[in-house]
Structure formats: C-alpha cells, structure tokens
Amino acid sequence: MSITRRSFIKTLALNSAAAAAATLFPGISFGAWKNVDQSSGAMQWKKTPCRFCGTGCGLLVGVAGERAVAVKGDPNCTVNKGLCCVKGYHSVQILYGKDRVTKALVRKNGKLVETPLNEALDLVASKMQETIKNHGKDSVAMYGSGQWSITDGYVSSKLFKGCIGTNNLEANARLCMASAVTGFLTSFGLDEPMGCYDDMDHADVFITWGNNMAEMHPVLFSRMLANRKTKGHVKIIDFATRTTRTSQAADKSILFRPQTDLAVANAICYEIFRNDWVNWNFVNKHVSFHKGKTNIGYGTEDHFKFQDKAETVDLETYKTFLEDYTPEKVEKISGVSAEDIRYLASLYGDPDKKVTSFWCMGMNQHTRGTWINNLVYNCHLLVGKISTPGNSPFSLTGQPSACGTVREVGTLTHKLPHGVVMKEGARKMAAKIWDVPVENIDPKPTYHTVEMFRALDRGDIRFMWIQVTNPMVTMPNLNRYRNGAEKEGRFVVVSEIYPTPTYDVADVVLPSALWIEREGFFGNSERRTQHNEQIIPMPGDCMSNTWQIIEVARRMGYKKQFPWPEETYIEDSWNEYIQFHDSPKHRMAPYNDLKARSGIQWPFVDGMETKWRYNAKYDPAAEGDDFDFYGKPDRRAWIWLRPYEPAAESPDSEYPFWLNTGRILEHWHTGSMTRRVPILHRAAPESYVEINPDDASRMGITNGMKVKVSSRRGSVVMKASINGRGRPPMGMVFVPFFDESYLINEVTLDAFCPISKQPDYKKCAVKLERV
C-alpha cells in the first residue's frame, strides 16, 4: 500500500467511526473546542460595534446561555455590510482569558492583594479627597481612553471638570488623534470628517498618506478593493515611508523620506497652480489663506508652551510661498521623484477624477501633525474636491471611540462636551446641564497627556486614575514616565481587565466590565454612533467604568450630580449628554433609535443622517445653495501656509537609523486583549524589528537573529525580521508595539506637535548592534 493510499483508507476509517458515533450520540464532539450545552441552532445573535479599530464594524455576537460563542458581521451595518477582519471574528475570545481581573486589588507591602470591591472604591474616593485637601484640586488627574464607552467619558468630565473643578482630564486619544483634531479645527473650525464611508463607493482615486490601511482598517480597505474590482479604472496609490501589504495591493507605491510629506504636499499644490488645475470658482467663494508661526519647536522640555498666531494672507503670498516647493526642489529632500510628484498632483488636478485621501497615524503621530493635516486639506481645497460623494480628505480614526468619547464628549484638558473651558458661554452651558456652580469649572487648561505624566513625575500630580489604556507600555520615552509613576507619594488607580505593565504599577486595581459585558456606545471615524446592550453578564466583582466613576463620585459627596439608578444609568447619562450637542451641526440620535439600529451618524436632523457636511445639498446646517464652511467665522475653509521643518531627532553618524513603530493586523495596540486569543497569538507570538534586507546583509544580520535597538534614551533586544510582511527602506527599522516583553517605547522620543501636543512615534534615531 502506498503512503497516500494508506492514509486515505485510514481517514476513511476515522470518518466511518465518527459518523457512527454521531448517529449513536447526537451532539457528540471530537471538536476543537469545549462545548456549551446548546447546539448552534439555539444561538441568539445580538448586535454590537466591534471592540477594536476606528472602522467601527457592526458585529453580531452569538450568545448561548450566558456565553459569547461565535461572531459574524452584521449585514445591517453599512460600515462593513457583514464582513469583519480576523480580530473581529475572534473578538469574543478576548473575554475569556484565564487571568481575567475579576476582584479589586489593593497594594499592601508591595503586593497587590484581593480586596472587597466596596473597600477599594472607598479607598479611591478617600485618597482622592485627601490628595485634593493636601495638594489642591490640580493634584488629581484622570487618564482615559479612546476605547472608553461614551458614557464613561461623560461622567469623567462631569466629575473632574464640573464637580472637582480640575482640567486634569486627558485620554490616550491625545497620542492617536490630537493632530487630526487640530487639523480640523484650524482648517474648518469644527472637528471630524466632512465625508463618510460612502465616499469609498464613489471615488476614482484613493491615496493613502502614510497609513498601512490593508492591516489597520482592513474592512475599509476591502471596500476600496471591491470598488476597484467593479469599476476597473479605479487607482489606489500608497504614499508611505515603508513597503507594506497596502503597497502590495496598490496600483502604485511611492516611498518618501520621513517628515518630507510636508514638502510633497506643498509640491502637489505648487503643481496644481502651475498647471492651472485650481478650481477658481470654489477657491474664490469658499477659501481664505492664512499663515501661522514657524520654527515652533518639539516639546521635549517640561513646561513647553506654544500658542500659534494666525495671520490672514492673500493668494499671491501663498503662491510665492509655494515656490520653495517645486517638484525638483522637493525631490532632493524627499526621495520622491519629480515625476511621481507631478503624477500625484495630476490625480488631484484632473477634474474628472474623484479623489479620496486616507490617513491615520503616519500624519497624526508627527511633530508637525497639525501642519500635515492642513496641507492635505489644501490639496483638496485648491481643486474643490471636498464634501461631495467620492471627493474626500478622510482622517481615519485609530480607536473605536476616540471620536465618540474623547473628541465628542471632550475628555481633554481644554474641552467641555460643547466648546472649550476658556469660553464663558461653554462653561455656563456645562454648569447648567450639570447642575453645578459655574465657578466650579476652571477656565484654564492644565496639562496635555505628555505634560500630565511629566507632572506625575515631578510631583505636581499625586493621584492618577487610569482607565482602559496601558500607558506603561505606550508612553514615549517610557523609562521616565514609568519611574515617575512608581515614585513615593504617587497614588495610581487602574481600572483593568487583565494584568498589564500598567496594572503592575497600580496602588488599586478596579475590575472592569469588558465591552459587551455592559451596555455601551462607541463613535467611529465616520461620525457613526453605535449602541450595544449588555449581552453577557459581568464576571466576579466587575463594574462598568461609568458605574465605577459614579460610585466614587457619590462617595466624594456628589450624589446630586450622579443620581441615576443602576438599571437605567447608561440611558440616563446618554440623555443628559446629548443636550450639549443639540444643534443641526451636531445633533446626536435619541437612545431608542440607537438601540434599534446598527449605528446612526451625527448630525442626526429630523430623522436623517448628514452624510456630507458643509454642502447645502446634504447638510441642513449649511446655508446657501452650495458650500458653507460654517465652522469658521468667515464661513470659508482655511488654507494654511505650512512649511517643511525637519524631525525632532534625525539619524546621524552615531544613531544612523530611523525608528518607526506601529501595529500589525493581528494585534491590537499593546496586545493585552489580542495576545490572549489563541489564533491571533499563534499568528504573531512575538514582536520583532523589521530591517531592510540590504542593511541586514551589510551588517551580517539574518532573519531571527537577535539585534539590539538603542537610542539616547533606552534600548531593547529583539529578533530581526527580514522580508516579512513589511520592508522598511534602507536606513529605517520598524517595530510593532504589541508585545509587552519588548517595550520599544523605552527607545522612542517624547517630542510632539506643539499645536496638538501629540507625540511622534514614527521618527527618532537609533542604532543597531548584533547581539
């Protein structure tokens, strides 16, 4: 018997036995997983937004008894129309890691010890009150997250800004989307995209600006691929600093040197003028020109302050400014050929092509992040390709609710749910809705995230409550901030689901409900709010973040501001929150509509979603009969004259490589959830450093060899990956940050965009050594 024939017969044998067994024992399982009592027919499907990226796919979770047992895409959700990615399909497994935190823990004699939940909450409240009494209200802080459910952010804002009266409220979206926000505010006066995902079905050209969309927003990327397949002429251009899966799928891959995106964007605008592709009708009616300060610094020193100053200029000044950015001049610094720059410009300039630009961390985690966001808007504004189906400068959001929670609720030091703390009108509105004296609300912003962790290090902040984020892995220049959090006299409360390096520095750990274990809301990149009910019970002593904050607030004496009963507190706080947005520019959908539907976009006006803002054809808040950029006082979109300025720390003779960091498809952020999902962990069990093959062979480094990556701040030893899924150009290395055993942020630099205060995780200088 040959091998193949014998194995064939053996499998036939096995099959026969299995079939016989199935007949005798209905429900028998030789399967790959342990079984719940019910068969697949008894599953119930419940909707929820996905727990992961800012795409905001709608999922249906299969529930059997009290367990989540399966996932499928929600066909009723227009975002993904029934498709997910590998993380979404296995998302329910994040609930079941065996080391789930289900009991409160308090650090006693250096060790975290299980404590009754009430005691832990009492301790948090009393410690906060004690710290405020001894060191003032600005010595306590809350650090939240773009993965916070909307009401989590809302009650934090009410407690810290309305009741305690401190602006020490920040969230990790500062590290992820702040430049996008300041980009929107400086160009348009209002936050969040003017287009929507429907643009993907209409566009003729897609340009990704420094984002690996195939791995980071995979379901949206699939929509682009589907568009290209059906329409045939559609082009996808990948404009990036390294070759990735996105480059593989694109029609053209153009590489640029880090930071020179600023120059290339200006060169595109130069070409648009030179070829007279400018849409003069649009520009004359709807655009004005402005410049700000230059040489604005990098924020690496404590107490760094920067205030921009806007100056209106005219068209001629702008054209003169652009003369420094001819394609030939820009080719020299960017490595992008003049021909490719002209090609990109021609795509924007062709009046018959609808162009959608996508970007995410490449442009936001940038020491001139606000500027590069402005400059890509300029490319669209000069040709009038904005706010119409398919013409869309689209800032993609990284986290599932950076928009919904951090940006829309305003959980940042200077923000209120409507407006900013500096404006009296906004403070009065908040005081009225919150039922607190308007004097409580401090008109002066305090610290942005990096400065807040510096303040913790210096001792200006002594109490910090961290929820739904892992700063002891993600803060740039990590060594300083971890040492700071561990100093004497610092009290750190961490609301967590699994043990992480942030949990490791906590004085109190509060067990938290995860995702579908509590009712919640997320708001995604395209202004779509999605609701999930509580689908499965919370384990152990877990509580939702919202309820934890309410419990602590009541213990601090703020029962009046947090009166809602446990049965309805999510609905009640939602209803209170949406009062802040009650205008056609931002109206949120009512609770019952969100509960019934698979997501609703805001503005939600008279039962209709506003898909394209600033266009009177689609937007009830726009006046006139075409475009109305009502966010700005002159009702125009602002073109900013932003120059190229170099990175904070570029490679030199001692540290000759760029260090670029980011994510991969399988893992979400610091991996605390996805590494506990077997299929995701086994696909990518360990982090690595991607090295260019020519650099590697010159240094004698082979695939899998240990390499030390060091900067002026720290070093990490990790395995080399050569010709894996990504290939950096010569002189650059890339490290994904999902693996807490390789804390690459000990190596990165805490330089940030002076306007947005968002750190640049994509550029610092390192050296490599074989180990």
Binding site: K10, S39, S40, A42, R67, P75, Y89, E215, S247, R682
Partner: protein
C-alpha cells in the same frame, strides 16, 4: 471483551464495515482517476441585507461544471480537520500551509482556492472558497506558528452541527449553518476538495435549496387566540 448485549451492535457494525469494504475500491478508483481543473467559483455581487440573495452563484457554478467534477470524491478532509482550524462554527479558518511572500509580491490565494484542484506540493485537493468576491484574503485568514499560548483561555462554543439531521428518514436535512458568505453550496459540498463527511452524492440535481431549507430557532406554530 464483548458482552452478550453488545453482540447485536457488533453485528450491525460488521455489516456496515462490510459495505465499506465493498464500496472502497470504487471510491479509491474514482478519486485517483479524474482530472480536476474546472469550475472557478462564481463571483456574485451580494447586494442584499440578509445574504439570501446570492443563491444565483449555485446555478451559474452548476452549469459550468462537468459531470465528472460533480461526481468527484477523494481524500480525507475530515470534519475534525475542518473544525480544528476554526474557533466556532463559521469562523474564518487559519491558513494550514506556508505562504511564501516572495519579494513582497501579492500572494494569489485564488490561484488555487477559486478553482480547486490537486495540489502536488501538499498532496491534497484544494478546498474552494464560497466567497471569492472578497479578495483581501489575509485580513481574515492568517497563518499560525506553533507558539505556546501567552495565557490560557477558557473558551467554549456551541456544538458543531451533527450529520444526518433530517426530520424523517430519507428526508433532506435542513441547512444547519448561516448563509452569510456561505451561500454557494457547491464550493463546500461538491467535488474532491470537500470534507468527505458532508460531500453530497447528488449534486446533479442543481437546485439545492428546493429541498434543503435554512434552519431557524423559531419554536413550534401556535395560533394567537
């Protein structure tokens, strides 16, 4: 070893085994005797919301395929192999073979998985995707290493649908799985690359859903009085 009460069952099994022995040479013969190189699975635009509208694919596919392909039987892709690659019924299976990323060129999964056929390299028939219109394969299907788990997991899911679920002997069993992305029956139930246990021996009938209906968990009928 065998007690009296077991002897009857033993006789049944021997008869069963006997049938297998007789049928076996036939199966082996036909498995190794046909050329598989046909029937690229059909791409149908799924426009609707409930995925019951992509049944067109079956008819187009059926028309394209030869009788030999429809009658193809082979190998042991077993149900346990099938479920081993999944985390719950319907989850995207991981890629059980190495994927060469030669110089970062785009990997062409559909070169094998759209048409099926014999893979000389892996010595098996290729399973066919029921959803070839989704071309970003590796956003859902990923390779695995044999790394130890980072942390152990307490995962459970529903029992897999068992075979032979007809309400009456000989009746067509209902469709025990979701139709979302799995509306092309031919891709998984017909041909040499399929799981042997669910392969149908009557694909020539063409209109699967005239006999096999989707199962729901609605209870029994009752009048509302």
């Amino acid at each position: 070893m065998m007690e009296n009460s077991e002897q009857k069952m033993g006789k049944v099994f021997l008869v069963f085994a006997g049938i297998c022995i007789v049928v076996l040479p036939l199966i082996v013969f036909s498995a190794f005797s046909f050329e598989s190189d046909e029937g690229e699975t059909v791409v149908v635009k799924t426009g609707g919301d409930d995925f019951d509208q992509s049944g067109e694919a079956i008819f187009i596919n059926y028309d394209q395929l030869s009788r030999e392909y429809l009658a193809g039987t082979s190998t042991g892709r077993t149900l346990s192999d099938y479920y081993d690659r999944r985390q719950y019924p319907g989850s995207p299976p991981y890629i059980p073979h190495k994927v060469e990323e030669a110089d970062l060129a785009q990997v062409e999964c559909l070169a094998c998985h759209a048409r099926g056929g014999w893979s000389e390299e892996l010595k098996m028939h290729t399973p066919i995707t029921p959803h070839p219109e989704q071309t970003a394969c590796r956003q859902c299907h990923i390779e695995q290493t044999d790394a130890k788990l980072f942390v152990d997991i307490d995962w459970m899911s529903v029992t897999t649908p068992r075979l032979g679920r007809s309400d009456l002997p000989g009746a067509p069993p209902p469709i025990p799985h979701e139709l979302q992305m799995r509306g092309n029956c031919i891709a998984c139930h017909v041909g040499p690359g399929t799981v042997a246990a669910i392969r149908v021996e009557h694909p020539s009938r063409g209109n699967c859903r005239q006999c096999h209906v989707a199962e729901t968990n609605a209870g029994l009928f009752s009048r509302n009085n």
